[in-house]
Symmetry: C2
Subunit: 641 residues, 2 copies
């Protein structure tokens, strides 16, 4: 059971690699063919690797996730599945282990690490031992509710759990070339297929996830049954199989067929994971109608239900999308997992359609939706990412207020780990014409072509600085196109040393393309406009009417009490968007961080005001000092009418 | 068991009658000594009596509440306690029966009714049969969980249930002079006292309610043990006895001692019922410190956590108060029960302190917080009272969107019934100096004095008209003072035929006092200022910044799609608060209803606008026609800066 078969280099690849026959505008770059070597993301990835992932393993030990799997493998003891309150049972605790394994798989692909490797070997061996001979694997059911396999598809998270197992297996196969987990995952998928495949009963999981994983398993194994099982689950959804549950059938997207639903609804992570699976199925089956349904929902979601930070989900009660434009900053749910799922979906849509709007969304969400979920130190987490925290407030629950070292429902922390470990895969793509740089980082990438390798390096002070230099290290002889995304937030963009020094003034993202017969040593610099921007929320977002937010580059900014004059209550602060703004170094946050200053007012009880210079910090850095009040959306001075 | 002992007239009285030694600025008027005979409230009370209460009995039959009590009384069958979703158990279904009985008790005091009387007799007999010999009475525990009495005080609602039983008993004793339920309630209270009284263990209910009921039982029976039991429960709260449960200890106000907590927190109805009990205990024990704690919380609540409508509770997840000034209109919870509880609390504070601010709050909350909970027809109910409903919205859950015929958790409907049946008791008080009219209605009241009866009639077109005429029908010879509340909303007030033609311009409520040697036939008319008011939300209520609301008299207004030009989307409407306003008859809503017009704009996609006359209706009448979009807070035209 414990033998490792290391595949040949041919097995190494990226996650989400569409097969040759799939609908696909761009192709991903293999996990080992692109590297982040420094800069902003280098630092974030190092923190994840050196601090967060080892810390995560410790937490999985302390919280009982590993002990639970040992019980499933035959040990004796008490199963630990209690939620944060008496009476709540969490049957999905295995998935935190799988997400941690997925993170380690991608990490080991980025660079070897003996300690991490040995730790993961133990966990993989444990997962292997916990799996039943028939392929079934779920520690909760095996230990607490034996005989009740697939009994509670609505809430039991069994298929969701298999999905994360499969994704971990894919990471190990593609990044490390190790197929131990893939064999476990394949047996598990076969077990599901027997129960719920074409020959079995109709059943879908209350929490989508397995669909996209099954498509990946198809891609990794070539076994078409898995694709068909995923497609079957997409098709079965939306016909009321799950019942209305606690929150109505829209909560788990079972109210309307996936190819018909016009808007995102219900639990945000469920909707987003579902749509990831729908895109994967659609692209592999050439199902343009299904793909189009997801694209339509995505644009509607971006327009009507997305926070400035990229965060998704405005209702705490059911972790759900609300009405269009229902985007309260204080009661934002904006779960860290939802932002991660949003990046996963946008990436799939970018590969399928090539629309740079998806890459723009990835950037906004990664910086402002995912990163706030992790402290700068790397060992505290936000589950909920509010855009406002008041000076006076009610007692905080576990999921909000300040970052916490872990959660009873700890879906977010290991999700952040796997996100950062796979982040490099979201940065660039290739197609027959060349290479596309969607995100800006300091690093290197290689794209193999029949006529030779394209190898380029990139260097940037991004997101603090708007200049990105791309240097050609190796190139085939024939011409190819280097495409660089110009984000919608950049009012203008200049390409130095390009054929055209392009200047754009567009309200949406576009690609600048430079086609040449390249020479090694050629270098281009894209210069984006990092002027501070005062953002108007638009007239339909009721909850932040009369407010303005600050952005610079890809970052959303916020103000925190710690940066106000002593004794100032944050709720008395207003921002005059017509005043001067500036970028300032904020070495107190990090050696390279840039803050923003703007014209502020402090309004007194009587309505008088005094002018101050308002110091805003990147939203993702909030709550890393003394945690008091914070707000992203700042009231403008009210007119006196 | 079934014999009825009708007490002498001396037993007839009001609810919440402090004993002679209590802290008490004003005394209530006996339930039978004040009558609403016509006008606005006459119509609302008639609907409640003739439609809502009979309908309620039918619903209690259909929903199984009565059948459950029959099971407790020995019948065979399946207990019905399922909540709106599988897995949720409602152990408090008896209370809906008790609240219905309380309503009928007050109604029969207002006027006899054979059919209602016979129906209630059957229900009372059923309650008597269901009670165990040892006094315990809870159909859920008796049928589903025998032997687990007082086992789950946090969530079991057993004492809460006893509280509603006692309140029903009080109504029957004080309004009808019938003590059958009082005997049941006394036995139940004795059972609780044995278990949790000074000789028993420390225990409090997760849902306060029994505290105020026990004080009433003390007042009705003279048995001081009940007051001491109530005081014990108030004192035990706030020390963590209930644990942190699902939502933290503040959810059930167990985070801080009742006499120390500075703000309302957690589940709104729990907090308000608790504070009712605290006031009752404080006044009876002469505990000024405890009373002061409640007064302080009340003022803070009014200032920072009360909707314009008087509604309370801004979080759906835990039906809870949020942060100060966290008052989202769309996701307002503002449970109908919380508004009722708020009136009950304000009434107790008014009796104790005499501060007309409490009477102002009663008026605002009754018209705009409670009445919307019931359809004009009287047979559909809101549980949640949002101040905004969007044109496009997600699927509605049971508790919001449109009024529903009943609920799985049906606390609100019978609460509205008992509220309306006892409404007359909230209108006026007496003291040694005379009579105080706190609310305006068409009717009659009698206050007995040593030297003879004061009997007055009142007539008004209120709330549509601001004139209230008071006529002296009978008076003792010696002088006494008639006091009339001038609401804070009235910019000025004139007392015609008074000694002084008072004019006030105050931002808070006050009393106009007229002291005379009165003659039968004397008549005074108070004229309030019913000019339409454009209300600014103040700068701290983030969710409605840049908006304005319309009020006229005691009523909050709203706009509904049905009153917009065809094809207009409500979200495109703005209100220019500097434009002209007017009052207009709205016979489509009711024969006497008054609507409001204001200067509106319809903003197009491109930012152009056209001017319209905006027609607003009283908020309590919304969702009685085609239910589309609605909003109370309307955006002002944004400045163009």
């Amino acid at each position: 059971m414990n033998a490792r078969r290391v595949l040949s280099g041919a097995g190494l690849d990226a996650a989400v690699r569409p097969t040759p026959s799939a609908i696909s505008r761009f192709a991903p770059i293999g996990a080992r063919d692109i590297r982040v070597t420094g800069g902003f993301w280098g630092e974030r990835l190092r923190t994840n690797r050196e601090r967060t992932i080892p810390y995560g393993l410790e937490q999985l030990r302390l919280a009982g996730n590993l002990a639970n799997l040992k019980l499933a493998a035959g040990a004796h003891g008490r199963y630990r599945a209690l939620g944060e309150s008496a009476g709540t049972i969490f049957p999905f605790l295995d998935t935190d282990v799988y997400k941690w394994l997925e993170a380690v798989g991608w990490e080991l692909g980025r660079a070897p690490d003996r300690v991490l490797n040995d730790a993961a070997d133990d966990v993989i061996a444990l997962v292997e031992r916990a799996q039943r001979d028939d392929g079934y694997l779920n520690s909760y059911v095996q230990v607490v509710a034996p005989g009740r396999e697939y009994d509670d598809l609505a809430w039991g998270h069994e298929l969701y759990s298999f999905g994360h197992l499969i994704q971990a297996a894919i990471a190990w196969q593609r990044a490390v070339g190790d197929d131990r987990l893939l064999r476990v995952a394949t047996r598990a998928a076969d077990a599901v297929d027997r129960e719920l495949g074409p020959g079995g009963r109709d059943g879908i999981d209350g929490h989508p996830e397995v669909e996209m994983a099954l498509v990946e398993l198809y891609r990794a194994t070539g076994e078409r049954r898995y694709l068909e099982l995923a497609a079957r689950m997409i098709d079965l959804r939306g016909h009321g199989l799950l019942g209305i549950g606690r929150y109505g059938s829209a909560y788990w997207q079972d109210h309307a067929p996936v190819r018909e639903a016009r808007t995102v609804t219900g639990h945000a992570v469920r909707q987003l994971y579902l749509d990831c699976g729908a895109v994967d199925v659609a692209t592999e089956l050439g199902d343009g109608q299904l793909l189009e349904a997801v694209v339509r929902r995505w644009h509607d979601m971006m327009e009507t239900r997305t926070y400035l930070t990229g965060g998704l989900g405005s209702r705490h009660r059911d972790e759900a999308f609300g009405d269009p434009y229902e985007l309260p900053p204080d009661q934002a749910y904006a779960e860290t997992c939802a932002s991660i799922a949003s990046v996963m979906l946008a990436w799939r849509l970018l590969l399928a359609t090539g629309d740079p709007a998806h890459a723009d969304a990835i950037e906004r969400t990664a910086f402002n939706g995912v990163l706030p979920g992790l402290s700068l130190e790397g060992t505290d987490f936000f589950y909920v990412n509010a855009l406002q925290r008041r000076t006076e407030r009610v007692d905080e629950d576990e999921r909000s207020g300040t970052r916490k070292p872990w959660f009873a429902c700890a879906c977010c922390p290991p999700n952040v780990m796997r996100f950062l470990s796979s982040w490099q895969q979201y940065l660039a793509t290739t197609d027959a014409g060349g290479v596309q740089l969607h995100q800006f980082f300091t690093g290197e990438l290689t794209a193999e072509r029949a006529s030779g390798s394209i190898r380029i390096s990139t260097a940037t002070g991004y997101p603090w600085d708007g200049a990105v230099t791309v240097t050609i290290l190796e190139t085939p002889v024939e011409p190819w196109t280097l495409s660089l995304r110009v984000p919608a937030w950049s009012g203008s963009a200049t390409l130095r040393n390009g054929t055209t020094e392009a200047v754009t003034m567009l309200p949406r993202a576009r690609m600048i393309e430079e086609t040449r017969r390249w020479q090694a040593g050629d270098a281009l610099t894209l210069e984006l406009d990092t002027a501070v921007r005062a953002i108007d929320p638009g007239r339909y977002v009721d909850a932040v009417r009369g407010c303005v937010a600050l952005e610079r580059g890809p970052l959303v900014y916020c103000i925190e009490t710690a940066d106000l004059p002593a004794g100032t209550v944050l709720e008395d602060v207003e921002l005059d968007p017509s005043g001067a703004t500036a970028a300032v170094a904020r070495r107190d946050l990090s050696p390279t961080a840039i803050g923003v200053t703007a014209a502020g007012l402090i309004r007194s009880e009587t309505g008088d005001h005094r002018e101050i210079e308002l110091n805003a910090i990147p939203y993702f850095t909030w709550a890393n000092r003394t945690v008091e009040a914070m707000r992203v959306w700042i009231p403008r001075p009210a007119d006196e009418s």
